[in-house]
Symmetry: D2
Subunit: 406 residues, 4 copies
């Protein structure tokens, strides 16, 4: 057992921290200004492209992707880097071409796409030329149970025809988003885990209606293409757009899940670290009742509790990454659930305290805290509500004792 | 001891519930549509005026205001009515001319204004013709300690000149908002509770700059005039605009506080009740893993806990109203703090569970829950953070034992 | 609505407080000494009898019992008195002949016993000459669902024969305990709520084995007869010992429940008040890091939170008492569940903080806190675990919306 | 970074688990019986000696002690073994000669004692022939701040004379306890961290009065010599009994702290694991409302949450052990505080839920849960209350930002 980062990670960490200090943090106010001034309310802005160019030149590009197509890092090596990107979550991940949902989509294409699909879609994604969306969640069903997905994908000659309604499709309104990976049902009569398929749908396909942006606690996340409600009105694509084969959808979704969790959780930990920093700075600098509020016992209690929680959390996420590297996604299944349960809850708590320490400023647009809080809160749902994951994890635990229970 | 509502309250409650059923709930979608279509992004919309006319005709007008100018209800009589308005918090309070911050401002004017001030400002406020703002909170100081207020109000001949910066001034951007009650310092050398004064500043006075709308989480609350950052650049008003006298500001603020707390807390309880209703309806109607999620033990735990919390809370707020009626604001001081501590925390918890029970819809614009949550969260700050109130309440408790402690 | 106590309650409250000051608190160390010196480790001690005599003389006797046999108070009148007895929970209730389980048992006998049964058992109980036990809970079943009770009561000629095992039968080892009210099944084939009966079993009946004292955490509660495991080996009693009739057991148990809840909850609130007092006194008198720990922000947070919780709780219990008086146990069913859920949890929290404020002394025999904590913790089970009550309360809430749910 | 145990630990773990299965668990009922039957209510019992002999023969002896005197394990290697002993906390640690407070005392003697002191006291301790006590905590001061210690140690010719009162001195009443390490003040005028000294006091020294056993939630812990109140009435010992030199007490106490924390925390984690196991077995085997309570959502929520918390906790404790091995106690200072804050709180929570899942049995002597709970609760105080550690940890965190705070 060894808790030290390896040399490669240590070196990349340093380079990444330098990149944030030298380029990302200074770009934050520029980003805000450009967003306010843009014409298309969903478009990306120039400073992002500049950061991408700089990051690529520095070799900080596609770090998330294992194998030859990416930086070739293990999950355990990438995790501490993902954490750092969480400190500036609107700029750092996209600057490194490591932003969701593209990361998961690129992994899917790298693993499951045909040569031609990869050439058409994966290549420009890897080069940061286009963005993508992952269309799974539906408003009318409990999507945490993939078997509930109702969108239909029907074979019709050389085509598939897609009909259904999706929402909270992140990034879909960004004009740079060119391709959707859509989950739907090809065979409602197959056994439950073989009913679903995934298919590639270019964004400009006729019948694909992007109806509106959904909000998260008032935020439309327009800087990253928002969260769209999307309707598929008999959308027709060539049969070759199907990923792998009919019935493979569930398995692909499962494969996509593990690394995504690590990324999300580590970014959240980075947000928590930033929140702790802001909480410390604010309370040191703000005086009430004759002394800095950092000297109030209740504030110190928050800070200590935040530190204690984040240290535990990080270790669990790193161990999960290590398990994925050593025994695979399946072997790490319980831990992947555990980090989904633990991370948003702890980070939400920390953000709440950081907000409280800021007074009204903590709720406002003048600190990043309220928006980060909304992100953390959202992740208590994304990929299924905590309650579903707890239920499943408990069943796993109970299974150990089920036989021979008296 | 008697826990039954009196006849007058019971009768008004019934009329108010009818008004909501017949007019307010049906107006909610109209309101949303008119807001989306209006030109001035901070203006009120026609349906609100229609509701006001209807409420006034039904005798549901200025219920909050005791004495002859208002409906003449006690705090204990008004409280259960305020609760009901919380069920539709964007429409019901304003429809009844019982919306903050006008309520507190009208109370101040009714109690402390000269005949002429009342004629000019209180009359149109009572008639619902104009709106008002209360400019107290400042970005640069811990405003929960009124002694920190930094805005200066300086006598200069027949005028006062106001210089300073305020933020989170609710309603200020509504074009119907015509008058500000501004808190500032007239004498920094007086004893701490006599340094502050309040003064009336018409919104179109030169030098009064409304700089921007502050957000709460992602909400700008534009339907009610937002929360403005306001800068006073040497704003000059006639000396007769001062309320009462120099040094009276702190005392007026204290007097304004008690009823405001009751109103806020009861409206929050109304929001909690609506959230419980929505949570029940949603979980009864949504199926996962083969049964309505209302049958999940964890969901039932939330519902029970919500009911148990809201029942305790309501009784404490009602008792506080009763104390204010029987022994006055000062005698009810501890309880007024207690409801400020208890209500936002409990209601926030309930809203969080109601959101979780709704999945992504709970975070979205398709239910009122996320926005109500942001309101409840904000009230953990408004009038000072919980921590300050707890500190003060604890000192009160400790005082009982301070002498003779061993 | 009126939150003031009536004249009678106010007067009795004063007399009771005087009695505690003059007799009960001074008796506490005597009680401890006599307990340590007694020979029978389960016996009561002389000082208790002295207190009983004094209380009776002062007219503070059987206050819990409505009607002519008792003090004739309503639930709402008795509740604030029960609270006061919670301040010295080992002495005050028994001194007033208002200690569980006798209170519930006397109510049962007053309501359901024959003239002869009342003469034999109720009379000496009312006079404080004997004690009693209520034998319901069983180790092998989830007793919160009365339908699970497995002890059998079989008719055999002029007798009933009782066979089964019970535990946590409070008071049973006190030599003064002369009578058991036993719940068992007379007809396993009847409909679920008519299978159970209650029967009177004198403690010296052959076959009634008192096997051992169960502990609560490390406490055996020997000062009040402990919590016995009791085995009924074909215990035979005359048929006339049955209460009411075969099948009436469930209904009697329900009737016994309501007032018992009020008593338990109000006594717990009294314990919480004593804990707050002890916490304040201790933290005012103890210095760490250069100042009384009462000045630490975290300690003040506890004190404030404790005060805020206990105020809410008390109102809910009082309202429940009022409901029982005005609409009956059945009409107050939801509230009776609510106080069972809310009270032990809140009081346990308060006791935990009071303990923490005392350091090691809080865990020891030198303060009453640890033992009070164990009582509060136990009440998260007694009459069924919180979870069962929450489930039932939630179903009640959901029922309001079940029809027409969409 | 590597989360796998090394070969040596893995092998010892297996041997230790075998030892528990083959000897320790079967000894538990024997232990209980022998305790009930012994004459001296504080004495140890024969089965313990048998287990010690067996453990020693199996090479499972003094595992806690690094270097040649002990098993030579690192903290990181010993930690997972300490966890396992927590599964049977009354037998396993003592069987392996790894029980507190002997472990800390042996470490102190190994590091700081003279050759002669080691011969006289360390040797028989290492051989498990005698037991020892650590006399630091005092009833009259906040002992978490060592500077408050009031017991005096005064030089008088060739002797030191000790005067003072201590309590919660664990193990002191065990007749096998032969030696006390006593902390006191030699020089009240020295600088704060040089006022204290430690001195060896044989238990039979005249003037050393063992006054009474203190309880923990009703438990006297008599199976391990209890927690004594001890009075030193001018106790005189030879000057050579002093450890190191006058003024070294604080430094020795600090050195003793780190490994002790790891041991305590890992044993607590072992208790938590046992509690989870018991909770699973119980809820699988107990039926209510027609199905095993393990199928209730609320119970599953507890189990999942318990698993998620314990996994995070263990990693943090292991990392702390690793830090102590690699950068020393001082470098691991923050983490040593963090595990003191996190562990008792999380484990207490888990035990509470396991108790609740057992109904009344969970509070009784029929499961180990209530007693384990009391241990965990006690550790929220031992070595100083959580609040003190949080305060200190927060200050460390704030220090990072103190300069340049704006």
């Amino acid at each position: 057992m060894d808790f030290a980062l390896d040399a490669k990670t240590t070196e990349l960490r340093k380079r990444l921290l330098d990149f944030l200090d030298e380029h990302v943090y200074p770009a934050e106010p520029v980003f805000a200004r450009q967003l306010a001034e843009r014409e298309d309310p969903w478009a990306s802005v120039p400073v992002v492209e500049e950061l991408k160019a700089e990051a690529r030149e520095r070799g900080l590009w596609n770090l998330f992707l294992p194998g030859e197509l990416g930086a070739g890092l293990t999950n355990l090596q990438y995790a501490p880097l993902a954490e750092i990107t969480g400190r500036s979550p609107h700029l750092a991940p996209v600057a490194l071409n490591c932003a969701a949902p593209d990361t998961g989509n690129m992994e899917v294409l790298a693993q499951f796409a045909t040569e031609r699909q990869r050439e058409t879609w994966l290549r420009p994604l890897l080069d940061g030329e286009i963005r993508s969306a992952f269309a799974m969640t539906e408003p009318d069903v409990a999507s945490s149970d993939a078997r509930n997905i109702a969108t239909s994908i029907k074979r019709d000659g050389d085509s598939y025809v897609i009909t259904g309604r999706k929402w909270y499709i992140s990034g879909a309104m960004n004009p740079a988003c060119r391709i959707f990976i859509v989950m739907g049902k090809t065979d409602p009569d197959a056994e439950p885990h073989r009913q679903q398929s995934m298919i590639l749908v270019p964004r400009d396909t006729p019948g694909l209606e992007i109806r509106r942006g959904m909000t998260l606690f008032g935020y439309d996340d327009s800087s990253h293409g928002g969260h769209a409600e999307v309707v598929f009105h008999d959308v027709r694509v060539p049969a070759e757009n199907l990923l792998v084969e009919e019935g493979a959808g569930f398995a692909i979704a499962q494969a996509r899940l593990g690394p995504g969790r690590i990324h999300h959780c580590m970014r959240l930990i980075g947000m928590a670290e930033r929140a702790i920093e802001l909480m410390c700075r604010r309370t040191l600098g703000r005086v009430a009742f004759g002394k800095p509020i950092a000297e109030q016992g209740v504030v110190q209690d928050w800070i200590a509790e935040a530190r204690v929680r984040v240290e535990q959390l990080r270790l669990l996420v790193l161990k999960t990454a290590w398990l994925m590297d050593t025994v695979g996604n399946k072997g790490a299944h319980t831990e992947i659930q555990a980090i989904k349960i633990a991370t948003p809850a702890s980070v939400e708590w920390i953000l709440d305290k950081a907000i409280q320490a800021h007074g009204a400023a903590g709720l406002s647009q003048d600190t990043p805290l309220a928006e980060l809080w909304a992100q953390a809160r959202m992740l208590r749902f994304a990929d299924g509500p905590d309650e579903v994951h707890k239920r499943s994890l408990a069943r796993q635990e109970l299974k150990k004792y089920r036989e021979g229970a008296k």
